[in-house]
């Protein structure tokens, strides 16, 4: 403490400072600062721990647009999580995205939770995710329904249509092929868009496509148990006597395809369809309406001739009215008869016929009766250009008698050959007859005849030559002579010639003479006595 001592020495005039020492323990207020820091730090730690949600892993095919530590997981544009890291999966075939969800997300992370990457997409149905062009891609989530909790998910490559929480109903459609449908394709009811395709997948046996659609409330009530769905993609062009009709659900459906549904008016509307009921998706409106005829009777037809041009689905008509269709065509070899048959299975829809009056026979009797009256099936050409065949039913009272074979599983309806077949058969018969004609002999005879004829001709030729040599010069001379004579006659008769003149005068005199004779005769008739007594004087003219 040298400094202090010297200081007090220099300023001796100043009074001595009084030394006070605080006693006991005293708490310095400065310790509040680290206390506050600890409190804040503790609070931060608590917040971080308490807000930490579950960490999940999602596998994607590609991490395009995803960034570790930046990409968010959003539901309805609300951030519910963030990507923490992106790593390549085993075999490098996929990427594993590890993300941290916000607290409280656990109940929604079930097996049915779906994740997908939202990027800017240009699809036929529209443009989506434009906002992500600037903000970068994010992961979309559709909260799952209550179920088994899980923390690892498989991300979808195509964004699904979110229907969770929307009023409406899902239905399943079975189709042979997907056509131009896609997720988001519209569903129309009376040309109003009432829903969309939510998902599709191949059936397990690969035989059909299952299409899941969602119909918004309240239109889902329009779906009845017997509602028909059909593919409304593209144009429906029909040409008939009424002109050309072009039918389409909407311009969008024309471009991207769509589904339409309706309940056929000729059917009693069934009760409302329960959610997830499966319907068949028909290929066109016509098909769906045809399907409205519930009663279908299969019949078997056996054809012996070629059925080229007959296809499954070809119409079966009765006097031009379609009452069914071909459902199957086969080829059969009958060992017993040692012949080929072509069994054709058809489906008749008796409901397409209006049955007037009271029913007097049962179906079997009725059909037997009709066949007895001549009901036969026949293949006929529908179009000359395409060669399409169809099955025509008609009454042929003159047909050879036949009966229905009431076999199992199908009853067989008698057939008659096609007109073409008949012609072919007749032609072959004619050819047979032709073949029986002894053409060779005829030919030989003909040849002999020809030889004879040849000879005759030769003789004739000789004759003609003779004629040429002897007769013709004579004839020529005669002709010349005749000509000369004729010239002479002509000259003689000519009016200018003296002979002619003489002749004319002679003729005039002759005429006068005749007249005089006639007068004489006349006179004599009146006065026959004059012949004896001579001419009376007073009577002269």
């Amino acid at each position: 403490m040298n400094e202090q001592d010297s200081g007090s020495g220099n300023h001796s005039s100043t009074p001595e400072a009084i030394v006070k020492t605080k006693k006991g323990f005293s708490f310095s207020i400065v310790w509040l600062v680290p206390l506050v820091a600890v409190l804040i730090g503790g609070w931060l730690v608590y917040k971080a721990v308490s807000e930490k949600g579950p960490t999940i892993t999602i596998t994607f095919d590609t991490a395009e647009g995803l960034e570790a530590g930046k990409t968010k997981i959003k539901y309805k544009d609300v951030e519910v999580g963030q990507v923490e890291s992106i790593t390549l999966g085993k075999g490098l075939s996929h990427v594993i995205v590890t993300a941290e969800m916000t607290k409280g997300a656990e109940p929604y992370l079930t097996e049915s939770t779906r994740f997908w990457v939202v990027r800017a997409r240009v699809a036929a149905g529209g443009v989506s995710g434009l906002g992500t062009i600037f903000s970068g891609a994010y992961i979309g989530i559709e909260p799952g329904k209550p179920g088994k909790r899980t923390l690892s998910f498989k991300g979808l490559e195509i964004p699904p249509v979110i229907t969770t929480g929307l009023p409406g109903a899902h239905f399943m459609l079975k189709a042979e092929k997907l056509g131009s449908l896609d997720i988001g394709s519209p569903v129309y009811y009376r040309q109003i868009k009432v829903g969309q395709v939510v998902a599709y997948e191949l059936e397990e046996d690969d035989k059909a496509v299952d299409i899941k659609i969602f119909i918004d409330a309240p239109h889902h009530e329009a779906v009845r148990r017997n509602t028909r769905f059909w593919n409304a993609s593209g144009l429906d062009v029909s040409v008939d006597a009424g002109g050309i009709k072009v039918n389409t659900e909407s311009f969008v459906a024309l471009l991207v395809g769509g589904i339409a549904f309706d309940t056929p008016a000729n059917l009693e509307p069934g009760g409302p369809a329960p959610e997830n009921q499966t319907f068949r998706l028909y290929e066109s409106r016509e098909q769906s309406l045809e399907a409205a005829y519930v009663e279908k009777r299969p019949w078997l037809l056996h054809f012996e001739g070629s059925v080229r041009g007959l296809t499954v689905g070809a119409p079966v008509d009765f006097r031009g009215i379609e009452i069914g269709r071909v459902t199957d065509i086969n080829l059969e070899f009958d060992w017993k008869k040692r012949a080929f048959h072509i069994p054709v299975l058809i489906e008749l829809e008796p409901e397409k016929i209006d049955w007037v009056g009271k029913k007097t026979m049962d179906r079997r009797e009725g059909m037997d009766f009709l066949v007895e009256k001549g009901l036969r099936a026949q293949l006929k050409q529908g179009s000359l250009i395409t060669g399409q065949l169809y099955v025509a039913l008609d009454m042929y009272p003159d047909a050879t008698p036949a009966k229905i074979v009431w076999g199992e599983p199908y009853a067989e309806l008698p057939t008659i050959p096609t007109p073409l077949e008949e012609i072919t058969r007749n032609v072959s018969k004619i050819i047979d007859k032709f073949e029986k004609i002894p053409l060779e002999q005829i030919g030989n005879d003909l040849r002999d005849t020809m030889a004879h004829l040849n000879k005759v001709t030769e003789d004739l030729q000789k004759l003609v030559q003779n004629l040429d040599a002897s007769v013709v010069p004579a004839a020529n001379a005669t002709l010349e002579q005749t000509q000369k004579t004729l010239i002479k006659v002509d000259r003689l008769l000519n009016a200018e010639s003296p002979t002619g003149h003489e002749l004319k005068r002679a003729l005039g005199e002759l005429a006068d003479a005749a007249r005089n004779i006639s007068i004489l005769a006349d006179y004599l008739e009146r006065h026959p006595d004059s012949l004896v007594f001579g001419k009376e004087k007073g009577n002269e003219k």
């Binding site: 001595e16 030394v19 400065v30």
Partner: protein, 179 residues
């Protein structure tokens, strides 16, 4: 001691220098953790939000090739505060343990600490200026993150800690040893 002239309390040394410094240093250490873990800025550019901590900012500048800026930020925002805190801790321990090791150098260390301490605030100034300047609506916006507050707290507490430390205490132990 009380001043005979004005009557105010006089102290031979800064009162409770050690405990005050300790308290502030500890507080600074605690604040130092969130200051570096939490994002200091939040840049929203064309809908793309990005949060940066001090270290990620340094890394960003390094990656984009602007290493002088990275160096400045690293020295001003990470190295200096940490060095200051460590030096103060070292001085505090040395005084408490009454070490006699190179008191001159230790005093110099303290002077340096005091002098450079305020420069750590540059980071906070940069952030505040950026926040005020970059308000382009949807195009780009910069917001201060929670880390900025803690970082400011670190700088302020270390400055106070340095102020509350009495360098004469370094020499006190030398004297008692001599006596």
């Amino acid at each position: 001691m009380i001043c005979p002239r004005c009557g105010s309390v006089l102290h031979q040394r800064k009162p409770r220098s050690l405990s005050r410094t300790w308290a502030l240093v500890i507080a600074a250490f605690i604040f130092y953790i969130p200051a570096n873990v939490l994002p200091i800025t939040k840049v929203t550019s064309l809908g793309h939000a990005q949060s940066d901590t001090i270290m990620s900012g340094v890394i960003y500048f390094l990656q984009t090739g602007m290493w002088p800026i990275a160096l400045v930020i690293f020295i001003a925002s990470i190295f200096v505060p940490l060095a200051k805190l460590l030096i103060l801790t070292f001085l505090l321990i040395s005084v408490q343990r009454k070490w006699q090791w190179r008191p001159k150098d230790r005093t110099r260390l303290y002077r340096i600490t005091e002098a450079i301490g305020r420069w750590s605030m540059t980071d906070i100034f940069v952030v505040t200026i950026l926040v005020a300047l970059v308000k382009l609506g949807a195009l780009a916006t910069i917001d201060a993150g929670p880390g900025a507050i803690y970082f400011a707290a670190v700088v302020v507490t270390t400055i106070f800690a340095a102020m509350s430390f009495d360098p004469r205490l370094i020499w006190d132990s030398m004297e008692t040893n001599h006596e």
